[in-house]
């Protein structure tokens, strides 16, 4: 099995507080890493470090066997990160947002209406996103998972604001992705109803909490 994420001895300090120290993370192709921990434990920080948005204080991250400083562009071509903010343009409609996102991912959506139906946005496709609810905006952002060719998905709280059918739908998509050898790192407070064959649980507790 090829190692997709290999992070060694990560240490991160934010605002003078040690979030985690000497943390090792390893995920293989087809694997799922479920990061858990209380609010403020550093889950998002860890995900942002793996995605290359933040530099750890110590340690280094390798994706697909390469550190980021060798060829950053190659790195970024293989990962998809969706954070707390959906990255959806509120002035544009759902379909326009999907089409532009597809442009960034270098793909053309064959049937945007079909995609809108799949992610539960049918009937809302020509309303500007600012008139949609938080959950619907989230669905626009997550629709990217249905066409993105990136093998590594890093999702920070993907279930936020989604209803129960939405959460089920998303987990079905996760199962398809990992079934095809894709890799997934996610944080969430609720347990997954889906049981992936290669699930790792990582629970972050601030080292200072034990003092």
């Amino acid at each position: 099995m090829t190692m997709v994420v290999n992070a060694q001895q990560l240490t991160s300090v934010r605002a003078g507080r040690t979030l985690f120290a000497d943390l090792d993370v390893q995920v293989e192709a087809g694997g799922v890493l479920h990061v858990q921990g209380p609010n403020g434990a550093g889950k998002s920080t860890l995900l942002r470090i793996i995605a290359g948005l933040l530099q750890p204080l110590q340690g280094q991250v390798e994706l697909f066997g390469e550190p980021a400083d060798v060829d950053r562009e190659q790195w970024q071509r293989r990962l998809l990160f969706i954070g707390h903010k959906p990255g959806v343009k509120s002035e544009l409609t759902a379909l326009e947002n999907l089409e532009l996102q597809a442009g960034f991912d270098g793909v053309v959506i064959d049937d945007p209406w079909q995609l809108a139906e799949t992610v539960g946005l049918l009937g809302l496709e020509d309303i500007s996103a600012q008139q949609l609810s938080a959950g619907q905006q989230r669905r626009i952002a997550l629709a990217r998972l249905w066409f993105s060719p990136a093998p590594l998905w890093i999702l920070d709280e993907p279930f936020t604001a989604l209803d129960q059918p939405g959460i089920e739908l998303l987990q079905q998509r996760f199962a398809e992705h990992t079934g095809h050898g894709g890799t997934l790192i996610l944080t969430s407070h609720q347990p997954l109803s889906w049981q992936p064959p290669q699930l790792q649980q990582l629970i972050i507790r601030s080292p200072e909490a034990h003092d």
């Binding site: 948005l53 544009l92 442009g103 270098g106």
Partner: protein, 227 residues
């Protein structure tokens, strides 16, 4: 593996920003109305005589252009920052300075170019003698890209501050001074019939320098701000 080419990503980014801007037209029109209003205040304040107005016209138009550039400058990256697009921009498989240059180009297209187009009307209102018109337009054409590039640096640096508007103005205005000096001197020279090649070439050089280095500074500032 995401296979988007650099050009495809840049094109998508520019298309998105143009679409968003055209949905909020007031952001484009308000600075232009501001320019027209300020320019039309001067004949009221200093009197409509062509001798005084004509002499200060070029300076007034340039100062107004600088102030108009500050209007809405904090919006340049603010919306992208708030909705998460800025974070996604860093993750695009294209060097960040290239995307920063695309952002600067869009900003110029929506704020600099309309100003150049509006300039003859402002010159007319201020009774700028006709000999100075072509030089004024040339300095604006060379100077507004500099304004966009410097504004982008300031906006990227202050984007994560809650209310960076006033700070941004204080940060940017001193940087505009060299531009103002050369541009005003060129138009003044044209009015008295002196050669203006020197100032114009200097402005062109300044433009090339800013457009080359600003994208690097903007990219660095965005990375810091998104952390």
């Amino acid at each position: 593996m995401i296979k988007a080419s650099t050009w495809q990503v840049v094109k998508t980014l520019m298309r998105r920003d143009l679409k968003v801007a055209l949905r909020r037209r007031s952001d484009i029109i308000n600075p232009l109305l501001f320019v027209l209003m300020v320019v039309s205040l001067f004949p009221l304040a200093v009197g409509p005589g062509p001798d005084v107005l004509g002499r200060i016209a070029a300076g007034v138009i340039w100062v107004t252009a600088l102030l108009a550039a500050l209007l809405g400058s904090e919006r340049l990256f603010r919306d992208d920052y708030l909705d998460g697009s800025l974070e996604q921009m860093i993750l695009l498989p294209v060097p960040l300075p290239v995307l920063a240059l695309a952002k600067i180009a869009i900003h110029w297209l929506l704020s600099g170019l309309p100003l150049v187009i509006l300039a003859p009307l402002a010159a007319l209102l201020l009774k700028l003698p006709v000999e100075g018109w072509s030089t004024l337009l040339l300095t604006l054409l060379l100077g507004t890209p500099i304004l966009s590039a410097l504004t982008a640096i300031g906006a990227a640096l202050t984007v994560s501050l809650g209310r960076g508007g006033a700070l941004l103005s204080l940060l940017l205005l001193p940087l505009f001074i060299p531009l103002l000096i050369f541009a005003a001197a060129a138009v003044e020279g044209a009015l008295v019939g002196a050669p203006v090649v020197g100032q114009v070439v200097l402005l062109a050089g300044l433009m090339v320098l800013t457009l080359t280095l600003a994208p690097l500074a903007v990219a660095g500032a965005i990375r810091v701000s998104v952390n």
